[in-house]
Each structure stands twice: as structure tokens, then as C-alpha cells.
């Protein structure tokens, strides 16, 4: 029984690992292949099956004049836009979520839950519905094709995620903790900053992770709201495709674009395994 359990456990771990890791390995080897090695039958092992070269990677940093696509600037644009928008979303979203969790708002029939739903409803609408108003809005304030404009739009898209996660989280932090902080001499701002926030780090991390993921992978708005001045990574990668599909540079770009998310995942995983995500609040 016990042996069977151990066997099955490792069996599934192995299967799952292959399932997860194989595409990455495949992309990694493909990124070093040339036209011949990709199209001339299946090849697996570098130096044995095919002669690796750096052409796929070089395309990513060569200027367009030399036949490359130069993703360096879009890459940093994407990093900048995602991080800034996520950070602002988390700050604003956490503050709104705290207010929604702790105070009662009433404006006619509009109450706390309606306000929370209003935030979430922004994510329920298909992006295409939002694209026209966003386009007109940005063009009216002259922010089309600019990093600032993209950050504004991403805040609108990401803040609901932060509000949603954090309202739920704050609702689980007992009010008595805030009250105790007040009794112990904190004013409401200090109570929030010194007591509630430090106990909400797990929630902040989860919310931050979702914001970064959704911001980083967005193609639709990045495509519609930018033209020539500013480009983000997902849009630039699409530009790689031509009459001959360049599998090697596509693989390379896939790897570099997934890299930040893997780093985020590792940080969160470290945090999780330290046991900090659970049991902070009983």
C-alpha cells in the first residue's frame, strides 16, 4: 500500500514535470536552431542532432535596418509600464479595499457591495467593449501612443483585481486588530500602516502577482493604443512573424518574455514555502 503510494506519487510528479518542463526545453533548443535544423526533420540534442547557433537570439537585439526586430526597448517599456501600473494599482486598490472593508458607504441604493461589484465589472466586460472608449479618451487627452497613456489604461484594468483580492483579504483580518491598534495609541492611518498592512502582506503579494501577470501579458490594449512611438513586448513579438515563420527567434522571444513571470513565481513560491501565506491571521 505504502509502496504503491510512493510509486504513484513519484510517477505523477515525473509525468507532470515532463509536461511542464518539456515545452521550455523544446523552446530553448529550438531557439538555437537554424532553418535547416527546424525544417529538415526532428532534431533534439545540440551538437549531436544539429549545430547550435545564436541567430535566433541575435534577431531580437539587431536593429530593424539590419533585419532584426530589436525588442530591447519594448522589453523595458513593458517592464516599466507593468511595474508602474501594478504598483499604483496595488496602492490605490489596497486603500480602496480597506475603506470598502471597514467603512459603510451609502449613496442612495449604492452600498459597499455595489461599489465592489463596480470595480469587478470592469473585468467582466470583454476588452473590445472598452477599446473604443479608451481610444477616444486617450486621444482626447493626447496620451495615445505614450507610456503614460498605457499606464493609465493598465491601472483601470489592474486596480479591480487588487480591490477584489484585498477586500476579501481585509474582511478576513479581524476588525478587533484595528481597534486594538487604536486603543494602543495609533490614529487610523497608523493603525492601517503599522498593523493592518503588515498583516496583509500575503494578500498584497497575491494581488501584486496577478497585476503583474495580467499587465505583462496584455496584447490587446498595447496593440490598439500604440502606433510607432511606443511599443510593448507582446506587440513587438508579433512583428517577428513574416512569410517564413522564424521558429528560432519566436522561441527565443517566448523565453525572454516568460522570464519575468518565472522570476515572480519563484519569489512567491519562496514566500509560500516559508509558510508566511497561511496562518498569519487566525
Amino acid at each position: 500500500m505504502n509502496k504503491l503510494y510512493i510509486f504513484l506519487k513519484y510517477f505523477f510528479i515525473v509525468v507532470w514535470t515532463v509536461f511542464v518542463v518539456a515545452p521550455f526545453l523544446w523552446a530553448l533548443t529550438t531557439s538555437f536552431k537554424d532553418f535547416q535544423s527546424v525544417n529538415g526533420g526532428v532534431t533534439y540534442i545540440p551538437w549531436v542532432d544539429f549545430e547550435p547557433n545564436l541567430e535566433g537570439w541575435k534577431v531580437l537585439i539587431k536593429s530593424p535596418a539590419k533585419g532584426g526586430v530589436d525588442i530591447i526597448e519594448p522589453y523595458f517599456n513593458s517592464l516599466f509600464v507593468t511595474c508602474t501600473a501594478s504598483l499604483i494599482s496595488i496602492i490605490l486598490g489596497t486603500l480602496s479595499a480597506y475603506a470598502l472593508s471597514r467603512y459603510t458607504f451609502k449613496a442612495g441604493f449604492v452600498k459597499n457591495n455595489d461599489i465592489t461589484f463596480f470595480f469587478i465589472s470592469q473585468r467582466i466586460m470583454p476588452p473590445i467593449v472598452l477599446s473604443i472608449p479608451f481610444f477616444l479618451f486617450l486621444s482626447s487627452i493626447n496620451l495615445l501612443d505614450s507610456l503614460t497613456g498605457l499606464i493609465v489604461v493598465y491601472i483601470v484594468l489592474l486596480m479591480p483585481i487588487a480591490v477584489w483580492i484585498m477586500v476579501d483579504f481585509f474582511n478576513k483580518v479581524p476588525r478587533e486588530i484595528d481597534e486594538t491598534a487604536l486603543i494602543d495609541g495609533c490614529n487610523p492611518y497608523q493603525a492601517f500602516l503599522k498593523v493592518v498592512l503588515p498583516n496583509s502582506i500575503p494578500g498584497l503579494i497575491v494581488a501584486g502577482m496577478f497585476c503583474i501577470i495580467f499587465g505583462w501579458i496584455d496584447f490587446f490594449f498595447a496593440f490598439i493604443l500604440t502606433f510607432t512611438e511606443v511599443q510593448l513586448l507582446p506587440v513587438k513579438i508579433v512583428a517577428l512573424n513574416s512569410s517564413v515563420t522564424p521558429w528560432w527567434s519566436l522561441s527565443a522571444s517566448a523565453l525572454v518574455s516568460v522570464a519575468p513571470l518565472i522570476i515572480v513565481a519563484f519569489i512567491v513560491e519562496r514566500y509560500l514555502s516559508k509558510g508566511n501565506l497561511s496562518g498569519a491571521i487566525k
Binding site: 479581524p174 486594538t180 491598534a181 487604536l182 494602543d184 490614529n187 498593523v195 487566525k282
Partner: protein, 359 residues
């Protein structure tokens, strides 16, 4: 420095949480607020702390209008029934928190925190995480945090209710020691509880609260001996006082076909709708007694609680030993009738064996 409240009312929904509550608390005293759950105890304590603003009424402390002072400047301390601590801080940091907030010198903080740890018996635990402590230890930390501030008003909201029986006993004794040990010289200590036994042991001034209303105020002994109404008699006894609808005539108390000779303090009450109150401990098993049927027998600790029935009359008897009964068993009981209370039809005390409103 007295804490005086006048006609505090708080009605957030269609029920009063506080209904015209007034009191005058003097420094150096222990006050126990006794009431069932949802009687407004926590609301009252939160109002004193400043976490709630009453709809009407006034609170004055040291001659100043307390309602105008925000919570964080009131210098009160509060212990909740849930073990509320700061989960992100360790034991030492938790207790030091209110002192740090006052920007006190670190060396003084260290000294005071160590003193507080010592007085709650948690020396050596200062670097533990809160989550690693048991419920009783967590509650000690939160008590230490409220002691360390030297607050003028110390509020304890059912601090023992979430602890298991043994710890409760132990902490209750420690509380008594702490409270009697000088701490209270200029502190107003307000302790809320649902447990009559706790109230009697703490032996302070008792305020009986029900549905937001103050029913009776007086020393614990007085509340126990002369509850001014049926409600108070129910609230201040555990199990609640037995209430028997009876009639007194010809010096006999009559109910359910039983005649018991009325003691002197009850003999003159001949009105209709009279209710006789008898504590569960004032009824005994007796071979020559009156027959009742067992509805339920609970064993709690070393005590047996018998729920008995005869006609429409239901009573609870507590027996100081563990006995096994089956449902529908017949038992015979006797009443220590000279310890019986009588209440008027409207619930007011008519007569008590301890001389309250005699005759």
C-alpha cells in the same frame, strides 16, 4: 478621577444595544458588567473605549467630555474575548507596541515589558511568535499589553470565555491577584462577563445589563442575595434560578399538587401570579420528598444537573456528585424553602431570604 456616564443610548438597528445607561465609576475600583450574550456588554465597553459613538448621552472622565477625545488619546486598555494580538509581531514586540507608540525610551520599554511578562507568567517567551502560543498564553500576552500601558481605564471583555475550563480557573485566580495587587490604585477596572460565578469571585461592584438596560447595580453579594427582579435572578445564577408559579394561602406554598409550608418571609404574600424562585443548589434529593420526572441529566465536571418536570413545572437541580439517571426516571426531591425568593407577577422582587424587601 471618576468615569461618569449619563443616559448612554445606542441603537444602530431596530434594537437598543444601550438603553439609557448611566453609571459612576470611581478610580481604584473593580466593576463587573454581568449580562447574557448580546446584552450590550461589548457595546458598553467599546463606547467607553471610544470605538463606538453613542447616539445620545454623555461620558465624562476626570471632568472632561470623553466623547470629544478620540480613541487613541483616551489612555484606555482593552482585552477582547477573542485573543487579539498583532500576528506580525513577536511576544515582546506585541507588548512593547503601545509604549513604542508613545515614543518612550527603549531601555524603559524593555524594563516595563519584562515586568509585564513576569506578572502574566510568560517570562522566556518574549521571542516567540504569537501563532506558536496556546489560547491561554495569547490571552496573557494581550493582558500584558494592556497592563504595560498603565492605562487609567482597563476594559476586559469576557477575557476568559474562549478558554478551556482549567485555564479559565487558573487565569481567573491570577486576575484576582493582579487586580488586588496595587494595580488598581488609580485604575478603573471594568470586567464584563456572562458567568455569575466569575462575578462573585471577582467580588467587585456589579452592573447587571440586559437588552442594553441596567437592571441592577450593587456589590456582588447584594446582587446574589437580593436580585431586584426575576431577570436579574436568572442572569446572576448559573444554572438560572428556578421559577415556579405558585400560590400562597394558609401559610402553604402550593403548586402542582404539592404543599410546602411557607417560611416566614413569604407567608404574607397572598397575591395572584406570584412566582417562587429557588436556586438549583437549594433543591435536594430526598427519599421522602416530592416525585418529579427526569427530563435530562447532564454531568458537568463533578456535578450533575437534573432537569426535572412535574405537570407544567420544570426545574433544574444541581447535585454535587456524579449520578446516573435515565430519562423518565422518577426522583424524589425536597426544597430548602427557607431560601426561596418570591417575585411579583411583573417580575419585581417581592421577598428574599436575605431580607431584601421583606414582607
Amino acid at each position: 478621577m471618576d468615569l461618569v456616564a449619563n443616559n448612554l443610548s445606542y441603537k444602530p438597528d431596530d434594537q437598543y444595544h444601550l438603553n439609557e445607561v448611566s453609571f459612576n465609576f470611581k478610580e481604584g475600583n473593580l466593576y463587573t458588567i454581568l449580562g447574557r450574550t448580546l446584552s450590550g456588554k461589548t457595546t458598553l465597553l467599546k463606547t467607553i473605549a471610544g470605538l463606538l459613538t453613542p447616539d445620545s448621552g454623555e461620558i465624562e472622565f476626570d471632568g472632561k467630555n470623553f466623547l470629544k477625545i478620540p480613541v487613541w488619546e483616551r489612555n484606555v486598555a482593552m482585552v477582547y474575548q477573542q485573543f487579539i494580538n498583532y500576528p506580525h509581531l513577536n511576544v515582546f514586540e506585541n507588548i512593547a507596541f503601545p509604549l513604542k507608540q508613545r515614543k518612550i525610551d527603549q531601555s524603559i520599554i524593555n524594563e516595563k515589558v519584562m515586568d509585564a511578562l513576569k506578572s502574566v507568567g510568560l517570562l522566556g517567551y518574549e521571542n516567540r511568535k504569537i501563532q506558536e502560543l496556546s489560547g491561554g498564553q495569547q490571552q496573557r500576552v494581550s493582558l500584558a499589553r494592556s497592563l504595560v500601558k498603565n492605562a487609567k481605564i482597563l476594559l476586559l471583555d469576557e477575557p476568559l470565555v474562549n478558554l478551556d475550563y482549567k485555564l479559565r480557573e487558573q487565569l481567573r485566580d491570577e486576575f484576582k491577584n493582579l487586580f488586588s495587587k496595587g494595580l488598581a490604585d488609580e485604575t478603573i477596572l471594568i470586567y464584563s462577563t456572562t458567568d455569575p460565578r466569575e462575578t462573585m469571585e471577582l467580588n467587585g461592584e456589579v452592573i447587571v445589563l440586559d437588552e442594553g438596560k441596567v437592571l441592577q447595580v450593587g456589590p456582588a453579594k447584594e446582587i446574589f442575595e437580593n436580585p431586584n427582579s426575576l431577570k436579574v435572578a436568572e442572569i446572576s445564577n448559573d444554572p438560572p434560578m428556578n421559577i415556579i408559579e405558585a400560590k400562597i394561602s394558609d401559610n402553604q406554598i402550593r403548586f402542582e399538587g404539592i404543599d410546602v409550608e411557607a417560611p416566614q418571609h413569604l407567608s404574607k404574600l397572598t397575591e395572584d401570579g406570584l412566582k417562587i424562585g429557588l436556586r438549583s443548589s437549594d433543591i435536594q434529593l430526598n427519599e421522602n420528598g416530592h416525585e418529579f420526572e427526569v427530563e435530562l441529566a447532564e454531568i458537568s465536571g463533578s456535578e450533575t444537573l437534573l432537569h426535572l418536570k412535574r405537570g407544567d413545572t420544570k426545574i433544574i437541580v444541581s447535585i454535587e456528585e456524579v449520578l446516573n439517571f435515565k430519562i423518565h426516571d422518577k426522583v424524589k426531591i425536597n426544597f430548602k424553602i427557607d431560601r426561596a425568593y418570591a417575585f411579583h407577577a411583573d417580575g419585581k422582587l417581592a421577598s428574599s431570604p436575605f431580607g431584601g424587601l421583606n414582607g
